[in-house]
């Protein structure tokens, strides 16, 4: 794939990633969000955050297994959209659930394990979004990769957040959980294999092709 094709693909992904939001806005103005619009908005933005986190996490295995190395070029955008939907999800909570009462929010984070998990997942994404620029990638060097391992914790926390909030039907959160497990197990397997072959930790080896857009 050449750089022109990649640019077109990125425009396409950008527009596609806005569809879930567009659909919510459209439904909102057409009174089609059902009996409990706030709940629909909360669940939908939460779902898309989860889906997009899992998508960014699947880029690395996908590009290695298929040898489509250009895929790295779309990872940052997908990651930023995960953060974008996370922001919308968080905003729905702090605005429509807590009416911007920060004190209430802090109490919630402290008292409610599922809020603690969700809040953790969200907060950990902030440094990742902030350091997603080329400048920060250059400045942080090898540490950039280490910092961005936080996405694993964020993903795990997001799944736990979902598991802890449902009443009895665990099927949906466990579906996300099993996809996440596969993506994490892949990394553990790769890491074990590399560390056996090569005593140097995987993090210290040159991985620049992964973090820069080619």
């Amino acid at each position: 794939m050449n750089s022109k094709q990649l640019r077109i693909l990125k425009i396409f992904i950008f527009l596609a990633a806005l569809i879930p939001l567009g659909r919510l806005v459209w439904k909102f103005y057409h009174d089609a969000l059902g009996a409990n619009p706030v709940e629909v908005i909360t669940h939908s933005t939460g779902d898309w955050t989860m889906i997009l986190i899992l998508t960014t996490l699947s880029i690395t295995p996908l590009r290695k297994l298929t040898k489509q190395y250009w895929l790295i070029g779309i990872r940052r955008m997908i990651g930023l959209f995960a953060f974008f939907y996370g922001c919308l999800h968080f905003t729905t909570y702090i605005w429509l659930d807590k009416s911007f009462d920060v004190h209430e929010m802090i109490k919630d984070v402290y008292k409610r394990p599922f809020i603690t998990a969700g809040f953790t997942a969200f907060v950990l994404m902030i440094p990742l979004a902030l350091t997603s620029t080329k400048g920060w990638i250059r400045r942080l060097g090898k540490n950039w990769q280490r910092l961005h391992w936080l996405i694993y914790i964020s993903g795990i926390a997001a799944v736990i957040h979902y598991i802890w909030l449902v009443k009895a039907d665990l099927r949906e959160p466990l579906r996300y959980g099993s996809i996440l497990s596969v993506l994490l197990i892949y990394r553990v397997v790769v890491w074990l294999r590399n560390s056996r072959k090569n005593p140097t930790p995987v993090a210290l080896r040159g991985r620049s092709p992964e973090v820069t857009e080619s």
Binding site: G34, A35, N36, V38, E39, L96, D97, S99, D108, R112, P113, F114, W164, L165, K167, A168, D169, R171
Partner: protein
């Protein structure tokens, strides 16, 4: 009480639906006569069987109730399209579609346990035991949302008095229909089926506790618990068992389904209480459907008249 068929059946459906209804009415009619004979109801009280029809049938002669709230009623389309009815689906938007063909006739309710006379009653005979009232109640779900619904029915005590429980009976247990063929949610074991709920006898005898077979002046839609359910407005919604097939009187406190599912989260009493949180979320506020921000939840959902039932009880322990 007369129930007449509404006239707004689309013309395209008339032939097939009327044929279907005829067949059903024949069965229902026979069942009513049979049940009425058992219950000792005179034929004159039965009404013409063809007047008993399916969903959207109006219920005439509704009496107003002093228990009704004057708060704004939740729109019909919300109450009928947003249902926690796990027998059909755990998705609240799905029961409306999945329950469309649910058969609510013929329908018998078994009355047993500690009663003088164990019996099987047809639902149409039960509906005729007392004059139907409209009761506009607040309804608070344990999940933190609430609605205002004009239910139709009469006090559950009317049925209990007729069932004539023995003095030993301390609790009433309600069982929902078990029929995985009709109720696809029961093919998944998210809860232990059939669904069981219970009330202490004095709670069940409280005039606010409603035996319900309609809402918005019409026969109860399938997704809202047709043909017969209870409504206990001072308790979280899951206490109000739907599509009831068995009412059993017991000496021991029944084990209700949600308590069985998560004993640390759901108790037997489950009274609406803003001061006792669900272990995972606060119960201090609720979102009334149709409102953007939350409103404070009221003790006993605003039904203070039941407070005396629990005097001396630690409601934090007996949650």
């Amino acid at each position: 009480m007369f129930i007449k068929k509404s006239s707004d059946i689309p013309s395209s459906e008339i032939t097939s639906k009327s044929l279907y209804l005829n067949r059903r009415q024949l069965i229902t009619g026979a069942a009513i006569v049979g049940a009425a004979a058992v219950a000792g109801v005179g034929l004159s009280e039965i009404g013409f069987p063809s007047r008993v029809a399916g969903a959207n049938a109006k219920i005439d002669g509704l009496q107003k109730s002093p228990f009704s709230t004057s708060e704004k009623q939740t729109p019909y389309k919300d109450v009928t399209n947003y249902n926690n009815f796990y027998e059909f689906s755990t998705d609240k938007y799905e029961p409306a579609g999945l329950a469309k063909d649910f058969m609510t006739r013929p329908w018998t309710v078994t009355i047993d346990g500690l009663v003088k006379k164990k019996q099987q009653l047809d639902v149409d005979a039960i509906m005729k035991m007392s004059a139907p009232e409209e009761r506009i109640y607040r309804h608070r779900c344990v999940e933190g949302w609430s609605i205002v619904v004009p239910w139709v029915g009469f006090s559950l005590s009317e049925l209990i008095k007729r069932a004539d429980p023995l003095p030993k009976a301390k609790f009433v247990e309600f069982t929902t229909l078990l029929d995985p063929k009709q109720m696809p949610g029961q093919r998944v074991s998210v809860l232990k089926w059939p669904y069981v709920e219970g009330l202490r006898m004095d709670e069940a005898m409280h005039p606010l506790a409603l035996l319900c077979f309609g809402m918005y002046g019409e026969v109860l839609p399938n997704q809202d618990g047709a043909p017969l359910r209870i409504v206990v407005p001072w308790k979280y919604g899951f206490k109000s068992a739907k599509s009831i097939v068995r009412i059993r009187f017991t000496e021991e406190q029944p084990m209700n389904t949600w308590q069985l599912s998560a004993p640390n989260e759901y108790g037997f009493y489950s009274n609406v209480n803003p001061n006792v949180d669900h272990p995972r979320w606060s119960q201090a506020k609720e979102r009334r459907l149709g409102e953007l921000t939350k409103r404070p939840t009221l003790m006993f959902n605003g039904y203070d008249q039941v407070a005396s039932l629990y005097s001396g009880m630690d409601l934090k322990k007996n949650f």
